[in-house]
């Protein structure tokens, strides 16, 4: 057991789930006991604010600040909701799954503490439908908590009550967008909502609602138990805490590891993922899932934190990297992502609904050897048209354009070879 890696301390080598008994034996539910009845919600909020915890779902918004927008006490009588976003569908991302399947009680304890802080009376775990094993484990864990008095009415004999439910998603990428998730949870089309009003004020069923990622919530009780300073001290750079980093692609040991936030990229890829497979060279990588801009080998020594990656022109996103090697066609790589995003558009706003399929179609033409020189202008126009936040109703389409715009920057010659050679140089029959 290493307290330096709080999130995965109960993750066993065989990935078998930790049950309530084992979880408590390893110090579980101490954070909850430290909070309920001992600390006021305002105290808890202050600790989280002081900890500098930032949302682990991809956007990196400071969690304490997000919570502070929830109207408290007399300002808002009635229901309040906490929702755990476990709809992990970002391409290349599998970090929440590890937490859900190996340590369900950690999430529940984090959620109880979070819900107590915002005084929510009902919490939902909105979980990706494919994570049926995790959903089953969570339901069992929740039942065990009800039995033990950790959930339900008057938790630990206090006047605080919390109900918790698991809701399996219908399976759309857009459900991971917090307002689309709320629409979906209400039984409506999973369309995102315009902000303002923010969910903290008018969310699920029109009531104050906080939506947080699994990994974010798993940190809460640790911070409450051990303090903001401890959490700040875990990070290697200005960001605080640990982070689950993942690597997929042609590396020797693809996987997911909890490391101090700010660990250099090179260390993650070369030390933890074992470096590139033999015979493959690193050409680039998406640092934080399918909707982040490419970085290249020149960025390997950057610290993997929100600010550093942002300054390099990308986003840390979910912190799970996808590797582009030298034998994989970058055009095909981007096309594959674009087709995913085009298919996952909710269809609400025009640039996303009609622009992404067009971009995918142009990429398909280029990859298929049917590209024309003016297609590069078309793609550039699409990037400008769709790529800015605010041009579209939500962040899906701008995210979808990130790999494309950076691929056009770093791998432009690959696009041009496709067009001039009327074939994909990486495929059979290509010039390669």
């Amino acid at each position: 057991m290493s307290l330096d890696l709080p999130l995965t301390r109960n993750v066993r080598a065989d990935r078998s789930p930790t049950d309530l008994k084992a979880y408590e034996a390893n110090g579980g539910y101490r954070g909850m006991k430290a909070a309920i009845g001992k600390l006021s919600p305002a105290d808890c909020l202050q600790i989280i604010k002081d900890s500098n915890l930032r949302g682990r779902g991809g956007a990196g918004f400071p969690t304490g600040m997000k919570w502070s927008f929830v109207p408290m006490d007399d300002a808002s009588p009635g229901h309040k909701y906490l929702i755990c976003n476990a709809d992990e569908m970002e391409p290349g991302t599998f970090k929440d799954r590890l937490l859900l399947e190996c340590d369900p009680h950690q999430l529940i304890e984090g959620m109880i503490c979070a819900a107590y802080t915002i005084q929510a009376d009902l919490a939902y775990i909105f979980i990706r439908a494919e994570y049926h094993k995790a959903a089953e484990l969570l339901r069992e864990a929740i039942a065990a908590c009800y039995e033990r008095g950790y959930l339900g009415n008057n938790i630990l004999g206090s006047d605080y009550s919390l109900q918790m439910q698991v809701h399996s998603s219908a399976g759309r990428y857009i459900c991971g967008e917090e307002t689309a998730l709320i629409s979906s949870l209400e039984g409506k089309r999973a369309n995102p909502r315009a902000k303002p009003p923010f969910p903290q004020v008018s969310g699920l069923w029109g009531r104050p609602t906080i939506v947080n990622n699994v990994e974010t919530l798993c940190n809460i009780h640790h911070i409450i138990e051990r303090g903001a300073d401890w959490f700040q001290g875990l990070g290697l750079t200005e960001d605080a805490g640990t982070k689950l980093y993942g690597v997929s692609g042609r590396v020797k040991r693809p996987g997911c590891w909890e490391l101090p936030i700010g660990t250099p990229i090179r260390e993650i890829i070369e030390r933890h993922a074992g470096g590139m497979e033999d015979g493959y060279r690193l050409r680039g990588f998406l640092p934080g899932g399918g909707s982040t801009d490419f970085l290249t080998p020149e960025h390997l020594d950057l610290a993997m934190d929100y600010g550093t990656i942002g300054k390099a022109g990308s986003r840390m996103g979910t912190g799970t990297m996808i590797i582009l090697d030298d034998k994989t066609c970058p055009v095909g790589f981007v096309k594959n992502l674009m087709e995913f995003f085009a298919r996952e558009s909710c269809g609400f706003c025009t640039p996303c609904r009609d622009g992404l399929p067009w971009s995918a179609q142009v990429l398909d033409d280029i990859e298929g050897g049917r590209g024309r020189p003016e297609d590069m202008d078309t793609l550039a126009r699409q990037v400008e048209f769709i790529g800015a936040i605010g041009n579209t109703h939500c962040a899906l389409a701008p995210g979808a354009m990130e790999p494309l715009q950076s691929a056009m920057k770093y791998f432009r010659e690959d696009f041009e070879r496709h067009i001039s050679g009327s074939a994909c140089p990486f495929c059979d029959g290509g010039a390669h």
């Binding site: 209400e186 315009a194 298919r343 269809g347 992404l356």
Partner: protein, 925 residues
């Protein structure tokens, strides 16, 4: 008022609006699709993008959506900058990826908002070279055509259909660029307001089926401002004509009467104008059943001779104009003029008029109804009797949501945000009716009660509001407590009742509730529905002492009537057939003026073909007491003449001194106003014949009207001279000016670059606001001016004292939107939706009679035989019948009758696996 800067120019704009509305109000062209002035903003189409700058130093700016951006003081925008223009062009280019290039064969072409916006943004060259997505179209019923390939996914249709109109059977389905707007399976759209999809859709997905099948482009339509004649709400319409046929009816905006929307009875119910049952020549039906046409002069002389020879009585009509009724009243004499209601209805309409004249409560218009924050509906099924009011009530229940939104400082146009905030929370709406109503889904509670129970509930509520203990303890008193509490909490409570359930006591009780609210210091509203387009005007004209049909029948039997003149009225709809037979048989001459052949024209000794609403001018008084003028759309065929023309000509021939100075339509209006105090205001309903718009008349034909020569080329290549309109300020030509005239005279909306109905904002004081020329019509009731007579001083007419008996059922009218109105039910598409006449019974009563849905029941002693519908919500002891349907004149509302299972009843063949009604022969696209 905030000042904003747009492209370097400072403008003062109205606070609380979004930038798109503000731009349109300023006359700046900013393209849009998903925003609608009545439905607010959701930010889906991204078409109204502009660039907003943080401050004067910011020279990059960022793209924001006009419809989602509040106007705040000092905000700086650019509409014309390259960044915004290129973005808006890219939006149209994206929308056009999958939009077919079928404008030449699309029913929307020429009035398509997508065409206009495409031209406006300057998109021309296509860069996309992929295939277009295609969809299957659905059969959506006889009224609306579906062509999904044209969809640009603006979500207006489902937002209108579901969110605004409360429909459930049209939805957005699938995702990404496969979004499909339709029903879960083919079938008739269930909403009574589905037709507005035709105008809400910015392109040609939802089009008017009757127009599609008998097509004319907007630019070739001759139009005139008109008023819907299908119920008493008086919605303003723009009917369009070509080749002497009515092609379609569009909404004519009136901020106080109908806003942007019509009901389907109004939109699709004018097709009777083209009916082959239309009478074209004067004549009479001979004994062998053949119609013998007479020469115009011959007919007129016969009429004159008949009227000169002996005692004349006249029966007017609540569906005919004030002017025609007034002339008939002059001809017959005040004491010999019956207004033409059924006897029971005459008492009810008179009572409704008196209650409104003497109530302290406001008689609300539609906009005021929408502002109500608590509503009590007593007995009236408004969706089926005054449908546009039901649509307004669906908006009134949203006042709770606006209240909540104000707490979060959300502007009212933030539609999605407000709906998400309020969810199912609504302002109180209580409905008491004999059975279910289509508004139940938004009602706080709907109570099934017999008419006397509804009246007792109303009285209990009135007593509760006055602070008196409930005088009528019983099962309703608990409900009354809740209703009292809701109304007492409201600042703008509304009480609705009407003649629809046939009970004077219910009308009285509603007025008592409204008065009690007024007495307790609230500004209450009282809306009393009456059945027909001019019911209220007719009551004003005839007065409370006018004889009814029963009185005329007695006089006829006594030999006191030689000549009976019937104006636009099928009497067999007004009374039992034996009585009408006797009335007509006892009069030597029966002269009937009407537009369509019916049972009464068949019994006439002389028929004069009367022009319908599309061929004549007239004034109608709506249920809120608003006098409104309609104008002829085209010249009547053959010998058809407006009724007022026939009557005036006859009286001129008779050298009647009272018409000596009457020459024109306006003269009759003025004479009527001078003669009848209650109608004194009608001259102000619209400008008279002499009105000129900057020196010219108002053109019925738009400036792009084409093919005037070709139109009749198969008959003669010589183009006939355009008819001169000698009665109204409108001209049957393209020449003239359609700008800034009074709202009552707006024949079409069109503005350069804005060819669709979206051009309306160019005619409004601000986007969504009233017309620049003023709101059409004049109110004849002066709301709340009476200061509140004691309603109990107004005695309700005694209803037939038939007491309840275990073996008797009380007949209660159950009007239907499609079928209860005489003329609209004869319109082709709509006729397919008219169900067979029915009688509704509670399951207990059906059990007692041993009948099930689809069986027949004999009513009384051979009065009628009707098909049974078992309705679990029907009050036991009541039998709801299809009021206004053929033969229902024999059924007297509230009468207590025997019922028994009909022998020899042939059940209709059951429809299998389809919800298409009886839409036989409908094209299946």
């Amino acid at each position: 008022m905030p000042t904003i800067t747009i492209d370097g120019v400072a403008y003062e704009v109205e606070a609380g609006r979004n930038l798109l509305e503000s731009c349109l109000s300023l006359g700046l062209d900013l393209p849009y699709f998903c925003w609608h002035p009545a439905m607010g903003s959701i930010g889906a189409c991204r078409q109204c993008a502009v660039v907003q700058y943080q401050n004067a130093e910011d020279n990059r700016g960022r793209i924001v959506m006009g419809c989602m951006t509040p106007v705040t003081d000092g905000a700086i925008f650019s509409l014309s900058g390259d960044k915004a223009r290129h973005f808006r062009e890219a939006i149209v280019e994206s929308l056009m990826l999958n939009h077919p290039h079928d404008c030449p064969v699309c029913a929307e072409g020429g009035e398509c908002h997508l065409q206009d916006m495409t031209v406006m943004v300057g998109h021309r060259d296509r860069h996309y070279r992929g295939r277009k997505n295609t969809h299957r179209n659905q059969y959506l019923g006889p009224l609306i055509n579906h062509e999904m390939n044209r969809c640009i996914t603006c979500y207006r249709c489902t937002r209108y259909y579901r969110d605004y109109a409360g429909g459930t059977d049209l939805a957005a389905m699938a995702a990404h660029d496969h979004i499909y707007f339709g029903r879960h399976q083919e079938g008739v759209l269930q909403s009574e307001f589905a037709g507005n999809l035709v105008e809400v859709c910015p392109t040609g997905v939802f089009t008017d089926k009757s127009l599609v099948h008998d097509y004319t482009r907007k630019w070739d339509l001759q139009s005139a401002p008109s008023v819907c004649t299908a119920c008493a709400v008086g919605c303003n319409t723009i009917p369009g004509e070509r080749y002497g046929r009515l092609k379609r009816v569009h909404n004519r905006f009136n901020a106080e009467v109908n806003g942007y929307f019509l009901c389907d009875r109004g939109r699709f119910g004018a097709g009777f104008v083209n009916s082959d049952r239309a009478l074209e020549f004067p004549g009479l039906r001979e004994a062998d059943g053949r119609y013998r046409a007479l020469d115009h002069h011959d007919a007129l002389h016969r009429m004159m001779d008949s009227c000169a020879a002996g005692k004349v009585a006249g029966i007017g009509s609540p569906r005919a104009s004030v002017e025609a009724n007034y002339l008939l009243r002059l001809l017959a004499g005040t004491d010999n003029f019956a207004p033409g209601f059924s006897d029971a209805e005459q008492d009810l309409v008179n009572l409704a008029l008196r209650l409104q004249q003497q109530s302290a409560a406001v008689t609300p218009d539609i906009r005021t109804i929408e502002s109500a924050d608590a509503v009590l509906v007593l007995g009236e099924d408004v969706t089926n009797t005054a449908p546009r009011i039901a649509l307004a009530l669906r908006q009134s229940v949203r006042n709770k949501a606006y209240e909540m939104a104000a707490g979060l400082r959300l502007e009212t146009w933030q539609d999605a945000a407000i709906r998400n905030l309020a969810q199912q929370q609504r302002s109180p709406l209580f409905i008491a009716a004999v059975a279910d109503t289509p508004l139940d889904d938004v009602a706080t509670r709907r109570l099934s009660l017999a008419p006397e129970g509804i009246a007792a509930l109303g009285q209990a509520v009135a007593a509760g509001i006055s602070g008196a203990a409930s005088a009528t303890p019983g099962s309703t008193s608990g409900e009354a407590v809740d209703i009292v509490a809701a109304l007492a909490r409201a600042s703008r409570p509304l009480v609705i009742a009407g003649t629809g359930c046939g009970s004077a006591a219910v009308l009285q009780a509603a007025a008592e509730v409204a008065n009690a609210l007024c007495s307790s210091g609230r500004q209450a509203m009282l809306c009393l529905c009456v059945p027909e387009a001019n019911s209220l005007g007719q009551a004003m004209l005839a007065g409370p002492k006018a004889p009814n049909l029963g009185a005329l029948e007695e006089r006829a039997r006594a030999g006191e009537i030689d000549t009976l003149v019937v104006l636009e009225n099928d009497l067999y709809r007004r009374g039992n057939s034996a009585g009408i037979d006797a009335l007509l048989a006892e009069c030597r001459n029966v002269i009937v003026l009407d537009g369509l052949d019916n049972a009464t024209t068949s019994a006439a000794t002389l028929v004069l073909p009367a022009a319908n609403f599309a061929e004549s001018e007239g004034t109608l008084v709506s249920l809120e007491g608003r006098a409104q003028r309609y104008y002829p759309l085209f010249q009547p065929r053959e010998e058809r003449r407006p009724s007022w023309v026939w009557l005036l000509a006859c009286m001129k021939e008779l050298e009647r001194p009272d018409v000596h100075s009457l020459h024109h339509f306006d003269d009759i209006t003025r004479a009527c106003a001078a003669d009848i105090p209650a109608l004194a205001g009608i001259t102000a309903a619209a400008p008279d014949l002499h009105y000129l718009n900057l020196g010219v008349k108002i053109p019925r034909q738009p400036s792009r009207y084409s093919g005037r020569t070709a139109m009749r080329a198969n008959i003669s290549v010589h183009e006939p001279k355009q008819r001169e309109d000698e009665e109204t300020p409108l001209a049957f030509t393209m020449e003239g000016l359609n700008r800034s005239q009074p709202g009552a005279l707006l024949p079409w909306v069109w503005s350069p670059g804005w060819n669709s109905n979206q051009s309306l904002h160019k005619f409004q004081t601000h986007a969504g606001g009233p017309l620049k020329g003023g709101t059409a019509g004049v109110r004849l009731l002066h709301p709340g001016a009476a200061g509140g007579h004691r309603i109990s001083d107004i005695t309700a007419p005694a209803t037939a004292a038939a007491s309840a008996a275990p073996d008797l059922w009380q007949l209660v009218p159950r009007p239907r939107i499609f079928g209860s109105d005489e003329l609209s039910a004869l319109s082709p598409g709509l006729a397919e939706l008219v169900v067979p006449g029915f009688i509704e019974l509670s399951p207990a009563d059906a059990g007692r009679l041993g009948v099930a849905t689809g069986d027949g029941v004999d009513v009384g002693d051979g009065i009628a035989t009707l098909e049974v519908r078992v309705n679990a919500t029907m009050t036991t002891g009541c039998a709801g019948y299809s009021a206004g349907f053929a033969g229902s004149g024999n059924l007297a509302p509230l009468a207590r009758v025997t019922l028994q299972r009909a022998a020899n009843w042939q059940r209709r063949p059951q429809l299998i696996g389809s919800d298409r009604g009886n839409g036989s022969g409908s094209s299946h696209v």
